[in-house]
């Protein structure tokens, strides 16, 4: 790839804390204007990678380039054109919404006049126009996240680095953030986001990288990964003895997984599975197209999660 079209490039990056390997020989590239997702369970190394891109953690080995600047050595220069939405809100709680933007803009060397000029459009973007003079401690969780997003845009960044931008939000607030992020993508911003929400990754990301234990276990477009790893319908069966049911439907299934009381049957012709199960009492059957969660769980194992 031509460097001017590449926003982020990682090559063979390694990081350990003590004996624990956090990131293991990771390489990926993000093109300008792309939304790239780092998907993985808690502890997969997502936040460490996000912090490495900002120069806040130095890799033990490998090469990182962000917006054509080598990181961490010239991370400060790169950060002038990066907006950051951290995993945990670090807004100024005693300040008003407007004061938060003022203080943050000054960290980028912006004059008060310039900050005042851009603040109204940022507040409008974050749907916080009516809250401009409200103290941040009085805002809801969703509003705080939107203010964090507006704050990240104060320096008109080329790249946004977002560490779990919607964790802890209710569905309404989450959808509003997703909608706002799509607007930013339409404006040509590059977004790198970490998430453990499959739906978020599927809705927003052009490409994503699935991580486990600091290693890349898959990379590609969401629908490409779904086709490649699942490629057929999924029948979820609740109730009954999973192992007994397993034997019954095996001839019609490409693959079967058992998770607790639930049986996941990957079947090219789900009707055949339904026919087999017809007349059995106490079963609930859900047939649906495959999604990223199936890919994720296929790759990392159904029983993995906490």
């Amino acid at each position: 790839m031509n460097m001017s079209t590449v926003a982020i490039d990682l090559a063979d990056v390694k990081k350990s804390f003590g004996d624990k390997v956090i990131v293991n020989e990771l390489s990926f590239s993000v093109a300008r204007g792309e939304c790239f997702g780092l998907l993985g369970p808690n502890g997969a190394g997502k936040s460490t990678i996000a912090r490495m891109l900002l120069g806040m953690i130095s890799p033990d080995a490998g090469k990182i380039t962000v917006l054509n600047e080598p990181v961490p050595s010239r991370a400060r220069v790169a950060r002038m054109r990066i907006g950051v939405v951290p995993q945990f809100d670090n807004l100024e709680l005693e300040f008003t919404v407007r004061e938060n933007l003022l203080v943050f803009g000054r960290y980028f060397g912006m004059s008060a006049r310039k900050i005042e000029a851009v603040a109204p459009s940022l507040l409008e973007f974050a749907r916080l126009e009516s809250k401009a003079d409200v103290r941040v401690s009085e805002l809801s969780g969703g509003m705080k996240r939107r203010l964090t997003l507006a704050r990240a845009l104060i320096n008109d960044p080329h790249l946004l680095v977002m560490d779990e931008p919607t964790t802890g939000l209710d569905p309404h607030a989450r959808h509003l953030i997703w909608e706002r992020l799509r607007v930013l993508l339409a404006r040509g911003k590059t977004i790198l986001l970490t998430t453990h929400f499959m739906e978020e990754a599927e809705r927003l990301c052009d490409r994503l990288c699935v991580l486990e234990g600091g290693c890349k276990i898959a990379e590609g477009k969401p629908d490409g990964l779904i086709d490649e790893h699942i490629g057929c319908n999924v029948v979820e069966i609740y109730g009954g003895d999973p192992h007994q049911l397993c034997e019954l439907i095996r001839p019609h299934a490409r693959h079967i997984e058992v998770s607790g009381e639930t049986l996941f049957c990957y079947a090219p012709y789900p009707e055949q599975v339904r026919v087999k199960l017809r007349g059995r009492a106490g079963l609930r059957i859900l047939q649906r197209p495959p999604n990223l969660e199936d890919v994720f769980l296929r790759l990392t194992g159904r029983e993995m999660e906490k």
């Binding site: 806040m56 130095s58 945990f88 005693e94 300040f95 000054r106």
Partner: protein, 262 residues
């Protein structure tokens, strides 16, 4: 390795101002309570010891005890206000409030932040020290212009103790450890450095040791200024204070790098 330490030092001569202004904005919201809170303790000491002990002690080094003590209290309040601002408020901004983390995602470096915090803490020292000077001058224990002469030393004292406290917070796992610094370092320093009685009252070996302590240099500059006497070896005292301000600044920035940017 050297390169990575260079990258955390202040990026330029003015980035720190944004950090100072952030703290100023926060302080403005609670200014009155902050000023009263900072003044109550030293003024109580000044009057309690000054009038009470002053009656027994009589004159010290050719002046009234309360005038002698006033200069010591100015230096001490500069020390404590910078120390407490750094140990409690800056520590909270570095740790629980995640303010530093937010700033580190902008184009500021760790050194910019530490420098901004130091100058801010020194600003609060100037406020506290000057306020005591004004009380003393109003009551006739110091002359008005003398407060102006003392001000550069008050500011430098603030920088020194903010800088030293920065090293403490860069190493302390939590608030609980600060009490050791207070009780084992700061409190003894008040009694060793000529704040409440002349150092000539100390045993000889203590006098030599006390002469090395930063608060002693500070008192040796502020007291002559407030009593309008010429200070002995002023350049030496000022130089020592500068060393006490600058070395801990670099040490704490390097220590913060290890703590915050791994």
């Amino acid at each position: 390795m050297g390169e990575s330490y260079a990258a955390v030092m202040p990026a330029n001569a003015y980035n720190w101002i944004a950090v100072w202004r952030r703290n100023f904005l926060a302080w403005k919201k609670v200014a009155l309570a902050s000023i009263l809170g900072n003044l109550a303790d030293p003024i109580t000491n000044l009057f309690g010891l000054g009038f009470g002990l002053g009656l027994i002690v009589g004159r010290v080094e050719g002046t009234s005890y309360i005038a002698f003590l006033a200069a010591g209290m100015v230096a001490t309040s500069a020390m404590t206000s910078a120390t407490f601002e750094t140990m409690y408020a800056a520590f909270a901004r570095m740790d629980a409030k995640r303010t530093w983390e937010a700033i580190l995602s902008t184009q500021l470096t760790l050194g910019d932040i530490v420098l901004g915090e130091l100058v801010w803490a020194a600003s609060k020292s100037v406020l506290a020290g000057t306020a005591i000077g004004i009380v003393a001058a109003t009551l006739g224990y110091a002359s008005w212009p003398s407060i102006l002469y003392a001000m550069p030393t008050i500011a430098l004292t603030g920088l020194v103790f903010a800088s030293l406290a920065m090293v403490v917070i860069s190493l302390a796992p939590s608030y609980d450890y600060f009490v050791f610094y207070q009780t084992l370092v700061l409190t003894p320093m008040v009694f060793l450095c000529g704040v409440v009685f002349p150092t000539s009252q100390l045993p000889g070996s203590f006098q030599h040791f006390a002469g090395l302590l930063p608060l002693a240099h500070s008192v040796d500059l502020i007291r002559p200024a407030m009593l309008e006497r010429g200070a002995d070896s002023a350049a030496l005292h000022a130089g020592a204070l500068c060393v006490y301000a600058v070395l801990p600044f670099f040490a704490s920035t390097a220590l913060f790098r290890r703590r915050l940017l791994r």
